[in-house]
Symmetry: C2
Subunit: 341 residues, 2 copies
C-alpha cells in the first residue's frame, strides 16, 4: 500500500477501501468468489443426499495481535474451522469481517492477512467474502484490529454430534496436553516470556476430526475447550446431556511449563483456554479404536482417555484428584482470560 | 440480567457468558438451531436443483448506537439481508458476533438485541449462531458495541445478478430518495437533530427484490448504495462491467431535508450512505415493467429511472447536471462518513 498506516478513509467505502481490498485482501486470499466484488459470494453447492449444512461465527479480539506460536489471523481461521469441525462438518467457506483501528500499520495488517491465508490453505477452506470497517484511534482494542469470521461447512450423512448426546458409560478423550494457548498469551502479557517454553497450540482440527469419524462413526460429541478451559467444556456437556462426568486428574496431561506458569500466576490449568485441543465423548466400545486413530494423526499423538460419563451427579463434573480425593469441578465463574481469542 | 452492566467476565466463556446467552440472546432470538448450544448451527438444506448458495458478512460500528429511524441492531440485520438480496438470494440464516465493551448497560444491549430480533422477523431470517466477546472499557468505540453478522441465502435457479452484467443500453433504476440514513446520523452527531425531519431509511430489501425479479427476470445487477453513496456504487458497476454510466441529476430524488443538511455540512448527497435503497440495472425492454412492480411495493413507491448504460467513457460515470453541464462523477475519494454502518 502507498500509505504505511490505516486511515479512516480506508473504511469509507470509496477509492481507498477499494485499494485496500485489492492490494491486501484480494491479493492474499486469492479466492475466485471473493474476486467477483459483488455484495455476496455465490456458489453451486455440492450437498450429498442426507448431508446437512453447518454455520458458525466467532469474533477475535486477542491482545497482543502476535504471540508465540500464532497470531490473531491464524486464530480467526482455526477457531471458526474448529467450531465447524466440532459438529462433524467439513469446513468449506469463511467470511472475514475486519474492524481496523486508525493508525494500524499496513505491515501488521498484511502479516495478519497472510497468516489467515496460510491457515485457510492449511485447513482447506476458502475465504470468500469480507468487510472492512475503520474506527477511530484507540477504539479497536488499542491494538488495532478485531476480526470476525463466520464459516459454512457440510456435515456428512449419518454424522450427528452434539453436546446433548453423551450417554452413561461413554468415555471422555482429550487429544493432547492442555493450557498452552492461554498460558502462552498470559505469560507474554505478564512479561514472563523468556522464562518458559510456552507456545500457542492453535491448529485446525478438521483433519483430526475426519480421522476420528472414520474410526468411530458412532462418536457422540466433540468440543474444543477454548474460553473457560477443559473444566467449563465438560460442564457444558454434562449440562446439555443431563449426565455426570468423572475425570481423573492424573490422566489429564498438563505440560510442566503450563503448570509452572499457572502456579506463578495463581491460575488453574483446567480453566485455561486452548485452541488446538478437543474433547471427545465416545461409546466405551469405540474408545481404543478412536484413540489409536487419533495417535496416528499429528494433532492427536498424545491423545488419552481422561474420564467417563456416569449416572451420578447429573449435570455436574467430578474430579478424582491425584491425592485420592473427589471434588466438584465447576464451570468457570469469574473472568480468567477474557481476551485470548 | 442480575447485573446492570456488562463486565469482562461476561466474555470469559464461563458461567456469566452462559447466563448472558440464555437471558439475553436466546430469549430474544428464539431460534431452535441457536438453542442446541453446540459449536455450530446445523440444518438440512433445501436447495432446489440449479439453485446456488450465497454468503456475505458485514461489521457494524455505527455511532451513536441509536438514531432517528433505527439503531445498530436493525442495521446489522438489514445490512446483511440486503447484501444477500443484492445477488438475488433469498436470505435464510444469519450469524451474530458481538463485541461488547465493559460497562455497556444491559438495557442498551437488550434494546439492540430486541431490535435485531424484530428485524430478523420482518425480513424472514433466523439468527442461528452467535458469539460474544467483551473488551476493556473504551475499547469498542467508546459506545460499547460492535456487531458482525454473516448471512447465508439461496439464489433461485436462473437468477444471476452481478455488477459485471451491465450492458450498453440498459437502464439505471433507483427505488427512492437518497441520503436519509447518512444524514440522519450526521446531523445527530453534529447536534442538528431538532431542526430537520431526517430519519434513517434502513429497511430489509429482500421483499422488494423478490417483486422485482418476478417482474424482470432478466435483471442484470442490483446494488445497495451504502458507504460511498450512489456515486460510488455507480462507479463500481461501471468498473466491473467496463461500461459508461450516465445519470441525470434532475431525476435523482433528494429530499429537501437531505439537501439542506448537506448544504449546511458541505456534503454532496450523491456520496452520502443509504441503507434501504437499491440501484438496479435492467434491460431497456424491462424498464417499465420493473418500475411498475417496484411502485406497488412499500419500499419502491418512489422508484424512478435515473440514467442509462452507455458505450462512451467505459469505467466512468457522467452526471448530466440540471444546468445542462456534464461532469465526471468519481468514486468517493476521501472519508465522508466512516462510521455510519
Amino acid at each position: 500500500m502507498s500509505d504505511s498506516f490505516v486511515v479512516l478513509a480506508h473504511g469509507s467505502g470509496g477509492r481507498l477501501t477499494h485499494d485496500l481490498i485489492r492490494e491486501v485482501f484480494a491479493r492474499h486470499f486469492r479466492s475466485p468468489l471473493l474476486a467477483t466484488q459483488d455484495d455476496s459470494a455465490v456458489w453451486s453447492p455440492v450437498v450429498p443426499k442426507g448431508a446437512r449444512l453447518a454455520m458458525t461465527t466467532d469474533s477475535y479480539v486477542v491482545q497482543p495481535l502476535f504471540f508465540p506460536g500464532g497470531d490473531i489471523g491464524q486464530l480467526a481461521v482455526c477457531g471458526t474451522v474448529n467450531d465447524l469441525a466440532m459438529v462433524g462438518a467439513r469446513p468449506l467457506y469463511l467470511s472475514a469481517g475486519f474492524i481496523l483501528e486508525e493508525g494500524l500499520s499496513f505491515a501488521d495488517l498484511e502479516r495478519v492477512v497472510q497468516s489467515m491465508a496460510r491457515s485457510a490453505t492449511d485447513s482447506g477452506v476458502e475465504i470468500v467474502t469480507g468487510d472492512t470497517k475503520v474506527v477511530d484511534r484507540g477504539r479497536a482494542g488499542g491494538d488495532g484490529l478485531f476480526i470476525n469470521t463466520a464459516g459454512v461447512g457440510i456435515v456428512p450423512p449419518g454424522v450427528s454430534l452434539s453436546g446433548a448426546n453423551a450417554r452413561v458409560g461413554d468415555r471422555v478423550i482429550l487429544n493432547g496436553p492442555i493450557g498452552m494457548h492461554g498460558m502462552a498469551i498470559m505469560t507474554l502479557r505478564e512479561g514472563l516470556r523468556f522464562s518458559l517454553p510456552l507456545q500457542s497450540d492453535c491448529a485446525p482440527l478438521n483433519g483430526l476430526v475426519e480421522t476420528m469419524l472414520e474410526a468411530g462413526p458412532s462418536l457422540r460429541c466433540l468440543r474444543d475447550p477454548t474460553r473457560g478451559g477443559l473444566a467449563t467444556t465438560l460442564n457444558e456437556i454434562a449440562g446439555q446431556s443431563r449426565v455426570g462426568i468423572e475425570v481423573d486428574e492424573g490422566s489429564i496431561p498438563v505440560p510442566e511449563a503450563v503448570r509452572a506458569a499457572c502456579e506463578l500466576l495463581g491460575l488453574d490449568a483446567l480453566y485455561v483456554a486452548n485452541e488446538g485441543k478437543l474433547v471427545a465423548i465416545v461409546p466405551a466400545a469405540d474408545e481404543e479404536r478412536v484413540l489409536e486413530a487419533m495417535r496416528r494423526h499429528p494433532l492427536g499423538q498424545q491423545a488419552t482417555s481422561i474420564g467417563r460419563v456416569v449416572s451420578d451427579h447429573a449435570g455436574r463434573v467430578v474430579l478424582a484428584t491425584t491425592l485420592g480425593a473427589r471434588r466438584v469441578l465447576d464451570m468457570l465463574s469469574g473472568a480468567l482470560l477474557p481476551r485470548i481469542c
